[in-house]
Symmetry: C2
Subunit: 347 residues, 2 copies
């Protein structure tokens, strides 16, 4: 049994090792690296024991900071989350979530099937009192920089957990996103905005107009009003609040633009010598466009609203992204993200 957040000396992170695009290898290697870098973090690896031990045997790690919990099944990327979770009682993500719920670990990291992850959390965790619906947040790079570390990242939520959000849900998402940006990006007063079809307070459907009115009177949130689609890649604000339907489409649109840029670069490399020389000279510039549009480079996307921390790493995560996701999860635990959210909610 782990201690209460106030007196944590060592933070245990449960890693769902299975079900990522690269299989267990990258996740185990990421956790192994974490054991070398972070003395205060213990990694609890959940998945096929033989596969985990095989990777650990070939990877430098600190054995005293890693333990293994066998889980005989896992959920693949293309499985239907609800059916698969119901059928596979020993799926690694379900076992890992329950270990966190039971107090055997403080937080969960997974690079597996997003829907199955969110469902596993919903099944094992409790919603924070006052939170009606959870939100999946995405961290994505922008043109602007901000915060203490000047990281050029913004948060957008929800991106798919709650397809239809009420005004009350949007207010909750604003509080949750603000708390996350404050704790993880060390940004004292993150700018929070609602996504709408115009900056005026009366723009948008009724739920957005009502959320605007409520957020305008909340002292705990640095609410700057509405932003438009053009502000998403620009990074005008730190936290963009919308429903899961809109957020999902926007996030995938960023991905589409990134694919276009990558395709162009590949085409140039293959087809044209003249282009190739130009691209070599321009590599830092092309890299900058890619950085701006590459929403994958920042591995961790938190699911916010539950009483336990869950960081969803991208399915294509390499070891380094997993190590970072583990650190982010530990930071959220150490700074009591759940308590910060609860204290920020309207009474």
């Amino acid at each position: 049994m782990v201690g209460t957040p106030q007196d944590i000396k060592e933070i245990t992170i449960a890693f769902d090792v299975m079900g990522s695009d690269h299989g267990p290898e990258e996740v185990v290697r990421g956790a192994a690296q974490l054991s070398l870098e972070a003395p205060h973090i213990h990694a609890l690896l959940v998945g096929d024991r033989d596969a985990i031990d095989g990777v650990l045997a070939e990877t430098k790690h600190r054995a005293e900071r890693i333990s293994v919990q066998h889980a005989s099944e896992f959920i693949a990327m293309d499985e239907k989350p609800g059916e698969a979770l119901a059928r596979k009682k020993n799926a690694s993500v379900g076992v890992a979530a329950q270990l966190v719920a039971d107090g055997e670990a403080h937080a969960l990291v997974s690079a597996g099937n997003t829907g199955a992850c969110v469902l596993a959390c919903a099944r094992s965790f409790q919603l924070i009192p006052g939170v009606r619906r959870a939100a999946l947040a995405a961290v994505y790079p922008t043109r602007g920089t901000r915060g203490e570390k000047e990281d050029p990242f913004s948060l957008i939520l929800d991106v798919g957990a709650t397809v239809e959000a009420t005004a009350e849900d949007l207010v909750t998402f604003a509080v949750m996103g603000s708390a996350y940006a404050r704790i993880i990006s060390r940004n004292e007063r993150p700018k929070v905005a609602l996504l709408s079809n115009g900056v005026e307070p009366q723009k948008g459907p009724p739920r957005v107009v009502e959320a605007h009115a409520r957020l305008s009177t909340m002292p705990g949130v640095n609410f700057v009003g509405n932003v438009e689609g053009v502000d998403i890649p620009k990074g005008t604000v730190d936290v963009i609040v919308t429903d899961g339907f809109m957020g999902n489409v926007c996030l995938k649109m960023l991905e589409g633009v990134h694919d276009t840029v990558v395709e162009l670069a590949q085409y140039a490399y293959k087809e044209k010598l003249r282009w190739r020389a130009g691209l070599a000279m321009l590599s830092s510039g092309i890299q900058r466009i890619k950085d701006i549009t590459d929403w994958e480079q920042y591995g961790g996307a938190p699911v916010l609203g539950f009483d336990r921390i869950f960081i969803k790493a991208h399915g294509r995560s390499k070891a380094r992204a997993i190590t970072n996701a583990g650190k982010v999860a530990a930071k959220a635990v150490a700074h009591q993200l759940g308590t910060a959210i609860q204290e920020g909610l309207p009474r």
Copy 2:
């Protein structure tokens, strides 16, 4: 009084000359060019007579294909559409719309305040029987090419006329967008899709799920199911259907990405000699990225659903875009877009 669509020899297009970002000059020059290129089109220029005559005096044109209707007022870009239209009885866009409604012209082109344009249409025109809400469609360039002319354009609607759309509205938008793509892009069976947060038929809010079910059984529409945000820049389909809230955010996001690319190019030109040489070599590549993300290059965005044709040109349109918008409007009139829409609606 102009003839009925069936026996049109000459098509009259009313141009709202005022209220664009460049004032009357570019619009009048665009109409003047049209008079040189298109013998079957007559341009009725609505706005300040002195200003119009001043530009015409300095611009080559065919005088017998141009007439002028004086309007003493106009609505600026930053005015509130409803208030301004109510106060300015002689605003050029309102006068022009009424001329079209009265049969003095077949279609309207404006590069002015979008909201005022849509309201002026709503005030003077009738909705096509069976259409409950009008839609503003945007034509934007994509990675893919299609249709007879292989133009790399897709249509997305609604992008702001109808913030909240019902399932019935979405079905109507699909029919209208399909008719427009068929007539204007000469694309016999345009692929039509609903924008959602997943390709499965049950993905999305109830209105989208219901629209999916209805469209699946409509023989007149080449409905290919749901597409995701990633498909917008890719140009997977010809017509993307969504509500005005989502469509507006997506369109402005494309604009934001374009701004980012342009900013990068400017930065490179200013700052780095090494980059400059690379950019020169890469100019066709950079142009291709700009083309993909520059939603402005295709001037005309139709408002669909009214019994009269209205093409909204971008506020920043230069003469060439206005000329093109006039041709698109004439094409829509000649091919009886309104009739095609009405025949495609579910009975």
